[in-house]
């Protein structure tokens, strides 16, 4: 199925007789495997409104992310949250779409400063499991009119509705960037230095540790501003730092964003969201190759195939998502962190209201 209008999308969902597998660009082959007829959003494509002077863009959900990014770049603007490209890590093909990005609440390194995809998402239109067309939010930056279903839909993996259109607020692309890179540090020393860096007023907007233990800290802004902040940050943190300027820095952060360190290597990939100061202990318990982003708040772990990382970690504050694994492993282990009973009941209640027949990506989120 490949609707080319919202009305068609609505009709297809309304008349669906069985489960639907919602596909954007299909660049991820993840979550619990969904059995069902494929419904592609590729026909719902195109930017419908772009106002650089208002820092807002609206695009249909099947629009290739690259098209949006190119259009914004021409005006010196961008989506602030730096969504990753999963293709290197997953070895997948296809074109990531706006809807897929929102459905995953995909957010990269800059999240520590500007928030996640959901924080830049200001409005959307979607079709729920009954075929009803729903609008929420709008195209303005501040909006508290009614409940914020925009947030609910971001990260709902197509289980509450199929988005047809999304609106974002944007940020200007800064003039330049620079990165400070340390010598290898232990996880504890790395989190300590990243926390100190993020606690300075120098607006560090990337703080990651690679597999060898090097900590990378990114600053963006006007050229003079970056030079000043970089120097001030070095002084505040002490120690020895390499400096990567402009394009060199940009390439490095693209690798960090896309978790290229684990691309092409054997093993399952897990993504942990934790309190940064807990990260060293959790990494020790995980006992596997690991990368840190978000100042330690995000851990990417490369685990032996088929192992249940959650069992190995025991209880911790935060959650673990299985990102890359064989179909058998994904069928055997919960892909998303099982939730406490009251929250699981709310989630099930929401699914029952928005998709009473259970036709939208059934089982994907558990």
């Amino acid at each position: 199925m490949r609707p080319i209008s919202e009305a068609e999308l609505s009709e297809m969902i309304r008349s669906a007789l069985g489960p639907l597998r919602i596909a954007g660009g299909g660049t991820r082959n993840l979550g619990k495997p969904v059995l069902g007829a494929a419904l592609s959003t590729a026909g719902l494509s195109g930017i419908t409104l772009y106002e650089p002077g208002a820092l807002t863009v609206v695009a249909r959900a099947g629009t290739p992310l690259s098209e949006v990014q190119t259009t914004l770049a021409a005006e010196g603007q961008r989506l602030p949250f730096e969504p990753m490209d999963m293709r290197p890590l997953l070895g997948s093909e296809g074109t990531p779409t706006v809807g897929g990005m929102v459905a995953a609440n995909a957010s990269g390194p800059r999240r520590v400063q500007v928030g996640a995809c959901r924080d830049s998402l200001i409005g959307l239109r979607f079709v729920d499991g009954t075929g009803a067309v729903v609008k929420n939010g709008g195209r303005v930056m501040k909006n508290v009119t009614g409940y914020d279903l925009v947030k609910l839909m971001a990260g709902s993996w197509g289980t509450l509705g199929v988005m047809s259109e999304c609106a974002f607020k944007l940020l200007p692309v800064p003039e330049t960037e620079a990165t400070l890179r340390s010598a290898p540090l232990s996880p504890a020393a790395a989190v300590d230095v990243m926390s100190r860096a993020l606690g300075t007023p120098y607006e560090v907007n990337g703080a990651a540790r690679d597999e060898s233990g090097c900590v990378c800290l990114r600053i963006e802004g006007f050229a003079k501003q970056v030079a000043y902040r970089r120097a001030a940050l070095e002084t505040a943190l002490g120690g020895e730092w390499d400096v990567l300027e402009g394009p060199q820095s940009a390439t490095l952060w693209q690798e960090i964003r896309d978790v290229q360190g684990f691309a092409g290597r054997t093993g399952d990939v897990w993504r942990l969201s934790v309190k940064p100061s807990d990260a060293p202990d959790i990494m020790a318990r995980a006992d596997c190759p690991a990368l840190m982003d978000w100042g330690g708040g995000l851990i990417w772990a490369l685990v032996e195939e088929g192992h249940d990382l959650r069992a190995r970690l025991g209880a911790f504050a935060g959650h673990a998502t299985l990102i890359r694994a064989s179909g058998a492993t994904r069928a055997a282990l919960p892909v998303f962190q099982p939730e406490p009973a009251p929250l699981a009941a709310i989630a099930a209640g929401l699914r029952a209201k928005f998709d009473p027949r259970g036709v939208l990506n059934p089982g994907l989120m558990g």
Binding site: E51, A54, V144, T145, L149, G155, P172, F222, K275, S277
Partner: protein, 478 residues
């Protein structure tokens, strides 16, 4: 503004409900005396008042849970309350309701600078949260003008914003986790100190749900390092259009000010008379503030003033000192007070696309003449959040109604140009019946289904947000 008829069955139960509440609460946590209940008959939308059946002021999450469990069993509506500064009537009680105020929940539970968060009880005021971390060089970013009084509880329920949200976002962008008690008394933890909660973004839905989904008793908030410094520039223009274009050009140029505030002539004049801030005599005034080190500020202000010069400003005043900064902000900060001196006023907060500014201001001017009521405009221009202040005389029969009708027309205009009814104050009762202007029945149905899941009996703050006719069947089923 219409409110639903109180449920006589609930009113008849009053004594029993009070007895049951008294059995689980300390004496100071339960107010039944009429004179004391008066203090809770309204919020900052003072035109509407109603005495609640009782007021409860619990001192712990466990007590909140006990109150809700009893009200749930008895089928009594509950109206959560923070500091009562809502401008939308969000905390307005009904006769058959119990107020649940969190004003006694005022502790800081944990401050964690390495992980950059603070955990507080939600009765704490907005400003006291910053107060708790300030000496260590941190602050809590959302800064509503009411920050001295308003509570984190109300901020979360209304998803409140402030002058600096252009850069730092509003409450929802700075909230990491909550402890929330459901209507049936179940205590839930959502999110925490880690950056994103698992599963659906329930935190995102709770924020801005106007006390209709649960009672929030504790919150984990993101704190940020204080900037090195900040300085404003003031610029005056001959027309609203030109000022509007200047805002657009600044935004396009790639500078990100922390605040862009806009005042029109009536507002400039009132502020000048009231605060003597030395504002120029002109049609439109912008205050643009940037942050950073002194050199960074100079660089950004140079860029901004260069843009402003292209629009032939009648005045361009870059602050060179703390004292000058204070003077520039003085008039803006006293705007509401200045208006209050002249007249009664109603403050709207519709949001529009920044590009529609000149058109909307012109239309508001025309409507002002049609309705025969004056309007002053002062607002956050960077994000399009308008604050038209309509002046009226509360003692003149019919003036309030005329003012409300005018307000409704302005909000409809905001929606027409692609904006929304409210950018930060919330719907409450005030904009409830205008929701149908912005949303279709399907849109509203989708929102109400969320409430069905959290509060199936529709007991929490039921007469708010949704047009009464839209929610009638659900409320009647309670």
């Amino acid at each position: 503004m219409e409110m639903p008829q109180p449920n006589p069955a609930v009113l008849r139960k009053r004594d029993r409900v009070l007895d049951r509440l008294a059995a689980v609460l300390a004496p100071e946590a339960l107010i039944s005396d009429e004179a004391e209940r008066r203090a809770y008959e309204c919020d900052a939308l003072t035109a509407y008042r109603c005495l609640p059946m009782a007021v409860t002021l619990p001192a712990s999450t466990a007590e909140v849970s006990a109150i809700l469990r009893i009200c749930h069993e008895e089928g009594v509506p509950v109206v959560p309350r923070g500091s009562g500064t809502s401008l939308a009537g969000g905390a307005l009680p009904t006769e058959d309701s119990v107020i649940l105020g969190v004003a006694r929940l005022r502790d800081v539970l944990e401050v964690n600078f390495p992980d950059r968060y603070i955990r507080v009880q939600t009765g704490m005021t907005n400003l006291s949260v910053t107060g708790a971390v300030e000496s260590d060089g941190f602050f809590y970013a959302p800064d509503p003008s009411s920050q001295l009084a308003c509570a984190i509880a109300g901020n979360i329920a209304m998803n409140s914003g402030g002058a600096h949200c252009l850069k730092y976002g509003v409450t929802t962008n700075n909230l990491l986790g909550v402890t929330m008690v459901m209507m049936d008394g179940t205590i839930t933890e959502i999110g925490g100190a880690h950056m994103d909660a698992a599963g659906y973004d329930l935190l995102g839905v709770i924020c801005g749900s106007e006390g209709q989904l649960g009672v929030v008793t504790e919150a984990t908030l993101r704190i940020l390092p204080k900037p090195e410094g900040a300085r404003p520039v003031l610029m005056g223009f001959d027309s609203n259009e030109v000022a509007g274009e200047c805002v657009s050009d600044i935004i396009k140029a790639g500078v990100l000010p922390v605040a862009i505030e806009f005042m029109d002539r009536p507002c400039i004049r009132a502020c000048e008379d009231f605060a003597k801030a030395g504002y120029p005599d002109c049609e439109a005034l912008l205050i643009v503030e940037v942050e950073g080190s002194p050199a960074e500020i100079d660089e950004q202000l140079a860029l901004i003033t260069a843009i402003a010069r292209r629009h032939n400003p009648v005045e361009l005043r870059e602050s060179q000192s703390e004292d000058e900064s204070r003077k520039i902000w003085l008039g803006r900060k006293s705007a509401f007070g200045a208006m209050g001196q002249i007249n009664d006023y109603m403050c709207l907060d519709g949001t529009i696309p920044v590009t529609a500014l000149p058109f909307v201001l012109r239309r508001i001017g025309e409507m002002s003449r049609e309705f025969g009521l004056d309007v002053a405009n002062v607002f956050h221009a960077g994000d399009g959040n308008m604050h038209p202040l309509i002046l009226f005389d509360a003692n003149k029969p019919g003036d309030l109604e005329l003012c409300e009708a005018f307000g409704a027309e302005i909000l409809k205009l905001c929606v027409e140009v692609g904006g929304c009814l409210t950018g930060e104050h919330g719907v409450g009762i005030e904009k409830r019946d205008l929701m149908a202007v912005q949303y279709t029945p399907e849109d509203l149905e989708a929102q109400m289904r969320v409430k069905d899941v959290f509060d199936p009996q529709w007991l929490l703050n039921p007469a708010k947000v949704f047009p009464l006719i839209s929610s009638a069947t659900r409320r009647a089923a309670a």
